[in-house]
């Protein structure tokens, strides 16, 4: 390899059909797209033909990490797993599942920037990677085991520092709504069954190497300390959620929950989370307790600590010890439960209500049962869509209509009606086993409700409460909270957009006046952001922020910086006027790799990666008419439940012409044709994607 730091220098290729294991030079083939999602998109573009189905042996599964993975950069634990996605409806297209944990750093320490899995093994296998030694091993004894047992078995063989990414029986059984999980709770959604289709139970990696920092070491240390000093809590929330002595502001909606008197009650001895002055960098890990944030104060007494990813002080996965669970619920449930965010809420989301409320004991237990089941069986929630679908089809009587009487009666509906968490032991394992019509359809994802059961997608598109957007997937931080920006970004991907760039700013907890002041510096005008419940017509600065939002997402997913924390453009520091630093990505990249890049230059790399994703989507859909056929909005976006007009207080109701103007501005800023929503030939060439332009010219896919 050249003299670059950051990258390990090799990408591992494993052909499970032939057993051939090889490596290739990262920098020769993939430097222009960094790694992570960029690496995944490039492999799919080069090697996977349009029309390839998710479970075809010709489909590939690319585990990509970036040049910052395994360095000391904060929050660098992300791995992007790109493939032809099995839950994308009606036609499978490119998408990526993401997980944190220690997989990314172990892969780098073993000497690799990615793994390309191709072909299909003729029997269950697992992949063992210990530095340069890569072996395909028999996994017949692991097939049928849960993720926890698989993890334990392999770690006993490879040693405690090995990181195991495994599928559960959902993935084995080709349940599309399945995950790959490492480190107990770090899950990548939607990709488990692609691994299962290749008869690959797990990938275990243990590395003893290191990541070289090419630039000045003192400068690197300085940037890391600067970065740490600007961090807030999870999702870069920069104010506490209750008044703290040091804080000028607080906001009850943020994840910075630490406060004197709120203690990790199951730690021995209990640890008070304290006031957490932002200048005390040794207290960053105490700021976040996502179990307490989502499940309520009940979670504090069971909190052991926060866990998380490599080199991340945030610790957003809360480890809970709940001693009564095994006796109360049986079924092998353990007293230790660890999770974060939407996975933590999996069980609760299945129920419409609880007699003791959403922050009561029953809801808490439902969450514990849910986490236990899905993280062992390897089931994906599709950002809560599986639960919203279930509630709808149950309460409307669709389940009863669509499945046979015997199957219907086999479920403990009496428990469900009473919001009893133990109902989940009845339903969830059946999804993983594809047992019966209901479980099979739920496991296929929302698209199967339309394709297999013939339910009208239009109905989903009309109902804001269902949260459905398009292509079998839900909205994710959309117009409901980010107005035009949220709507536009939700049109761009083939799964939920999984983007937090904008959220890490919009939900940071600062009063709107402060946010607007920062927005002026970042996107040229205070008008780039709106106060919640008071949105204004589209403008160019909103379009600039929208473009920035998506380019940074791809950049983070390709550099291996957590998009649930980055960008860090606001901070908890009053003395900085709460500003963060929009150049952190380029600073880190430049020093780690030794290749100096400005913010603008690195953003152009993000634009290239985003452009390649767009090109893959165009190629595999076989049309350039993206604006009409891909970048669509559900009807509910243009409705207000209370009949309020667009731009009036309290509404999220969007106005069609205004949103069309937004799309025009967005396409224009990216150099995409406004009529079709496809990048122009000049744009591809500008982004060093001339090979795309050449192929599209032949296929008539250029605008």
């Amino acid at each position: 390899m050249a003299t670059f730091g950051g990258w390990a220098g090799k990408v591992l290729r494993v052909d499970l059909s032939t057993g051939r294991i090889s490596t290739e030079d990262t920098l020769e083939k993939y430097k222009d797209v960094l790694g992570g999602t960029g690496l995944g998109y490039k492999v799919l573009w080069d090697e996977v033909k349009p029309g390839t189905k998710p479970y075809d042996s010709e489909n590939k599964l690319i585990f990509g990490v970036g040049p910052l993975a395994g360095t000391g950069a904060p929050s660098n634990g992300r791995t992007a797993i790109t493939t032809i996605y099995p839950t994308c409806w009606p036609k499978p297209l490119v998408a990526t599942g993401h997980f944190g944990g220690d997989f990314a750093c172990q892969l780098k320490y073993a000497g690799y920037d990615g793994i390309i899995i191709e072909g299909k093994a003729d029997r269950p296998v697992w992949l063992s990677i210990t530095d340069g030694k890569v072996e395909i091993k028999d996994a017949r004894h692991l097939w049928g085991q849960g993720i926890r047992r698989t993890n334990l078995d392999i770690v006993q063989e490879l040693g405690p520092t090995a990181c195991v990414a495994a599928i559960g029986i959902a993935g084995e059984n080709l349940v599309p709504m399945s995950t790959i999980i490492n480190n107990v709770s770090h899950s990548a959604g939607g990709v488990g069954s692609v691994m299962g289709a290749k008869n690959l139970k797990a990938i275990a990696v243990r590395g003893s190497g290191y990541v070289r920092i090419a630039g000045d070491k003192a400068e690197w240390e300085k940037v890391i300390k600067h970065h740490l000093a600007l961090l807030g809590s999870n999702n870069q929330h920069v104010v506490p959620n209750s008044p703290q002595p040091w804080a000028e502001f607080s906001h009850p909606g943020v994840r910075w929950v630490a406060s004197k008197g709120r203690a990790w009650g199951a730690a021995q001895p209990p640890i008070d989370s304290g006031t957490c002055d932002p200048h005390d960098l040794n207290r960053i890990a105490y700021r976040t307790n996502n179990a307490a944030f989502y499940l309520g104060n009940i979670a504090w007494q069971y909190t052991v600590r926060g866990n998380g990813c490599t080199s991340c002080p945030i610790r957003c996965h809360t480890l809970l010890r709940v001693p009564y669970l095994p006796e109360k619920y049986g079924n092998g449930i353990t007293e230790n439960i660890q999770s974060t965010c939407v996975r933590l809420l999996f069980g609760r989301f299945f129920y419409k209500s609880f007699t003791d409320g959403f922050l009561g004991r029953t809801a808490f237990d439902a969450c514990m049962v849910g986490v236990y089941l899905i993280d062992d069986l390897g089931i994906w929630d599709n950002y809560g869509q599986i639960q919203r679908d279930f509630i709808k089809i149950y309460h409307e009587g669709t389940i009863k209509d669509k499945i046979g009487e015997a199957e219907f009666k086999s479920y403990s509906w009496d428990k469900y009606a009473k919001s009893d968490p133990s109902f989940l032991f009845d339903l969830i394992p059946r999804i993983a086993r594809k047992e019966g019509e209901l479980a099979t359809v739920l496991g296929k994802g929302t698209g199967a409700l339309f394709g297999q059961w013939g339910l009208p997608e239009e109905e989903w598109k009309k109902d804001e409460g269902l949260g459905y957007w398009k292509m079998g997937h839900p909205q994710h931080h959309s117009s409901l909270e980010a107005y035009q920006l949220g709507a536009i970004i939700n049109t761009q991907y083939n799964r939920d957009v999984q983007c937090h760039t904008h959220q890490n700013f919009l939900r940071n907890g600062l009063p709107i006046k402060e946010q607007k002041r920062l927005a002026k510096d970042l996107w040229g005008s205070e008008d780039a952001v709106d106060d919640i419940g008071m949105y204004t017509p589209m403008n160019l600065n909103k379009a600039k922020m929208t473009r920035w939002t998506l380019l940074r997402k791809e950049l983070h997913d390709s550099l291996s910086l957590c998009n649930w924390m980055a960008p860090v453009v606001a901070s908890p520091l009053k003395e900085r006027g709460y500003s963060g630093d929009d150049t952190l990505e380029s600073l880190l990249y430049s020093i780690a790799t030794g290749e100096k890049m400005t913010r603008e230059e690195l953003d152009e790399v993000g634009e290239r990666i985003f452009g390649l994703h767009r090109a893959l989507t165009i190629r595999d859909m076989g049309t350039k008419e993206m604006r009409k056929e891909h970048d669509t909005f559900p009807d509910w976006v243009f409705k207000d439940r209370q009949g309020r007009a667009p731009f009036t207080p309290g509404t999220t109701h969007m106005e069609k012409n205004d949103l069309n103007l937004g799309m025009d501005m967005f396409y224009n800023l990216l150099g995409w044709d406004k009529a079709t929503g496809s990048p122009t030939e000049e744009t591809y060439k500008k982004l060093k994607l001339g090979y795309v332009a050449e192929e599209f010219e032949k296929k008539g896919l250029l605008p």
Partner: protein
């Protein structure tokens, strides 16, 4: 002059030692989230003064010392309560907003609730969940809060303070002077339900 030079080294006078000790005490208390009164300073200083263990009361004008110290160290700040009594804090460790909450806590709880709600509605466009008054730094009981809200409904000084309930039954307060009822309702629902459904 508060220092004597002796052999090139600076020796602190008794007054200097005391005033530094007061400043340190104010900063420590601010870190803990507490304001300091003159009475508190006096009690602390007596305990630390030479001869305190023998019952000797120091003859020092503490307030005058503090005023001088505050001119030299600008993080030391005074805020006055409703009766005009000064309370001290260090702006290095305590924000003005937090100090205001503590000052209001010394007075009428109705004003404490109303002013907190008004500030949140005007500065941050946010309704306030009633439950925040149970927690630090407010520490009101459920009974006290209910009584306050009842009294506020009947008191013309607080007619702008309105209540709204979310779909899961959580009560929020807002000031109608600064937030439209529709918007307050939407914001409360978002904070209580929407955000959690969109994690």
């Amino acid at each position: 002059m508060t220092k004597h030079q002796q052999g090139g080294a600076s020796i602190l006078t008794e007054e200097e030692k005391v005033s530094r000790s007061i400043a340190a005490m104010i900063r420590d208390k601010s870190r803990e989230g507490l304001l300091v009164s003159m009475q508190g300073i006096w009690e602390e200083s007596i305990n630390q003064a030479p001869g305190a263990d023998k019952g000797v009361v120091p003859e020092i004008d503490l307030q005058a010392l503090l005023i001088v110290r505050m001119k030299e160290e600008d993080d030391l700040t005074a805020i006055r309560n409703q009766e005009g009594q000064p309370r001290y804090y260090s702006s290095r460790f305590m924000s003005e907003n937090y100090a205001k909450i503590l000052i209001r806590k010394e007075g009428d709880p109705l004003v404490l609730i109303a002013e907190t709600v008004r500030e949140s509605s005007s500065l941050a466009s946010r309704p306030v969940p009633v439950a925040i008054f149970l927690a630090s730094p407010f520490h009101l009981s459920q009974v006290e809060i209910s009584a306050c809200l009842q009294q506020m409904r009947e008191d013309r000084r607080f007619q702008d303070i309105r209540q709204t309930a979310t779909s899961i039954g959580t009560y929020f307060l807002y000031s109608a002077l600064h937030l439209d009822p529709d918007r307050a309702s939407m914001l409360s629902e978002w904070l209580d339900v929407g955000q959690h459904q969109n994690p």
